[in-house]
C-alpha cells in the first residue's frame, strides 16, 4: 500500500486504561470494547497526523517481535475494524481538529 493512512481517535467515545488494556465505550450503540495491548498502542498513538505506518514502525514493531509488513497488515485491518465501530477515524490525509469534527458530524 503506497498511500499513507492517518488514524485519529474519535471524540464520540469514552476510554479508561486498565493495566495494558483499554476499555473503550462508543456512543454508537453504547458499545463497549476491550482493546488488547497492540490495539491500545495504536489507539493511543492515533493523533490524526502521524501516518499509520510510522505508528506501526515506531510503536508496535519496536515493542513486539513482529515483521513490519505483517504488523502493518494487521494494523490496517484493526484500524478499519475500529473505524467501523466509531472508535477511530481514518483518512488518507492528516486530520486537524476541524476536520475531525466534520468527520464525526457525518
Amino acid at each position: 500500500m503506497n498511500q499513507k493512512l492517518y488514524v485519529a481517535r474519535s471524540r464520540r467515545i469514552a476510554a479508561r486504561k486498565l493495566g495494558d488494556e483499554m476499555l473503550v465505550m462508543a456512543a454508537e450503540g453504547s458499545t463497549l470494547f476491550t482493546l488488547n495491548p497492540t490495539a491500545t498502542i495504536l489507539w493511543q498513538a492515533a493523533d490524526g497526523v502521524t501516518p499509520l505506518h510510522e505508528i506501526v514502525e515506531r510503536r508496535i514493531c519496536s515493542e513486539f517481535d513482529v515483521e513490519a509488513e505483517e504488523a502493518m497488515r494487521d494494523a490496517e485491518m484493526l484500524a478499519q475494524d475500529l473505524a467501523r465501530h466509531g472508535v477511530l477515524l481514518l483518512s488518507d490525509e492528516p486530520m486537524i481538529a476541524a476536520e475531525l469534527s466534520q468527520q464525526e458530524a457525518r
Partner: protein, 271 residues
C-alpha cells in the same frame, strides 16, 4: 386567581426518589389517586420540585401502538416515545409533558428515563439490581432477569431493609456512593423502603451449587456494571459521564461475583 392556584395544586403530586423530586400535574383526580397509590412512600409533602411534568391523558393521534422505546435528543429537549406514551422534557427549564392513557406504568417508564438522564450528569445511575441495607451498609445485587434479584430479596432476614428487588438507585453525594430505595419493584411487587445508605459492595448474581464470593478485576467489574446500568439514550454527550461514573464507582466499591444456593444461608456472607 387564588382559587385557580389552589385547584391546580390539588391535582399535582410530588414524587421524590433518590433525593430528586418530580412534580406530576394532572387534571384527572382519579389518575392522581392512582399515582398516590402507585408511589406510596415516595410522595413528598413539598409543593416545589426539581422537575415538573404535565400529564395529558387520552388517546394520542401520533401514537405508534406496539412500538419499542425510543429516547432522542434535539433542539435542547429530550423526546421519549413508546407504544403507550409520548413525552418530551426540557432540561433547561426542567419541565416536560407526557401524553398517555390513565395507567401508572407509562409514567413509571418516563420517570425512570428522566432519572437516568439527570443522574448521568450527577455521578449516578439506575441499575438492574436488587439492593438492601444491613448494619448501615447498602449492598447491590445485580444481574439479568433470572439471575436471582427477587430470590435474594425474598431470602433477606428481618434485619435487612430492602431498597428494591429490581431497579436500584445509586448516586454520589459528598464523595460517597449511596443507594436509595425506589418504588420500582420486580416480581416481589413491593416498593422498596424509602431510605439510603453508603454502598459497601456490588455483587453480580449467579445461582449455583454452592455459596461462593469471588472478587472481580476492575475491567470485568466495569464491563459488568455498564451492562446492567439502565441507559436509554444513545447520546454522545451522555456516554462519557456514564462511563466515567462506572469507572469511578469501581475504583471505590468492591465488586464480587456471588454464586449462591437459593436459601437463606447466602445472607451469612453479606454483612
Amino acid at each position: 386567581m387564588t382559587a385557580l392556584a389552589e385547584q391546580i395544586d390539588a391535582y399535582g403530586v410530588v414524587i421524590a426518589i433518590g433525593g430528586l423530586s418530580m412534580r406530576v400535574n394532572t387534571t384527572d383526580y382519579h389518575f392522581l389517586e392512582i399515582l398516590q397509590s402507585r408511589f406510596a412512600g415516595y410522595i413528598s409533602p413539598e409543593s416545589c420540585s426539581d422537575v415538573e411534568f404535565d400529564v395529558q391523558l387520552g388517546p394520542d393521534p401520533l401514537a405508534k401502538p406496539g412500538s419499542d422505546l425510543s429516547v432522542t435528543h434535539g433542539a435542547g429537549r429530550w423526546f421519549m416515545q413508546r407504544g403507550d406514551f409520548r413525552a418530551e422534557w426540557d432540561p433547561a427549564t426542567r419541565r416536560g409533558t407526557i401524553r398517555q392513557e390513565a395507567t401508572p406504568y407509562s409514567l413509571d417508564t418516563a420517570l425512570r428515563i428522566v432519572h437516568t438522564l439527570v443522574l448521568a450528569r450527577q455521578n449516578g445511575f439506575l441499575l438492574h439490581a436488587a439492593s438492601a441495607i444491613r448494619n448501615g451498609k447498602a449492598f447491590l445485587f445485580s444481574g439479568v432477569s433470572g439471575a436471582g434479584k427477587t430470590t435474594i430479596s425474598r431470602l433477606a432476614p428481618p434485619d435487612v431493609s430492602l431498597l428494591s428487588d429490581e431497579i436500584s438507585y445509586v448516586r454520589k453525594r459528598n464523595g460517597k456512593y449511596l443507594a436509595f430505595g425506589t418504588p420500582f419493584a420486580g416480581e416481589l411487587a413491593k416498593a422498596g423502603e424509602n431510605t439510603s445508605a453508603p454502598v459497601s459492595a456490588l455483587y453480580l448474581l449467579h445461582q449455583g451449587p454452592e455459596n461462593r464470593v469471588e472478587p472481580l478485576g476492575a475491567a470485568d467489574a466495569i464491563r459488568q456494571l455498564l451492562t446492567n446500568i439502565l441507559f436509554f439514550a444513545q447520546d454522545r454527550e451522555l456516554v462519557q459521564p456514564v462511563f466515567q461514573t462506572a469507572c469511578d464507582f469501581v475504583d471505590g466499591i468492591p465488586v464480587y461475583r456471588l454464586t449462591f444456593v437459593p436459601d437463606a444461608r447466602v445472607w451469612e456472607m453479606i454483612r
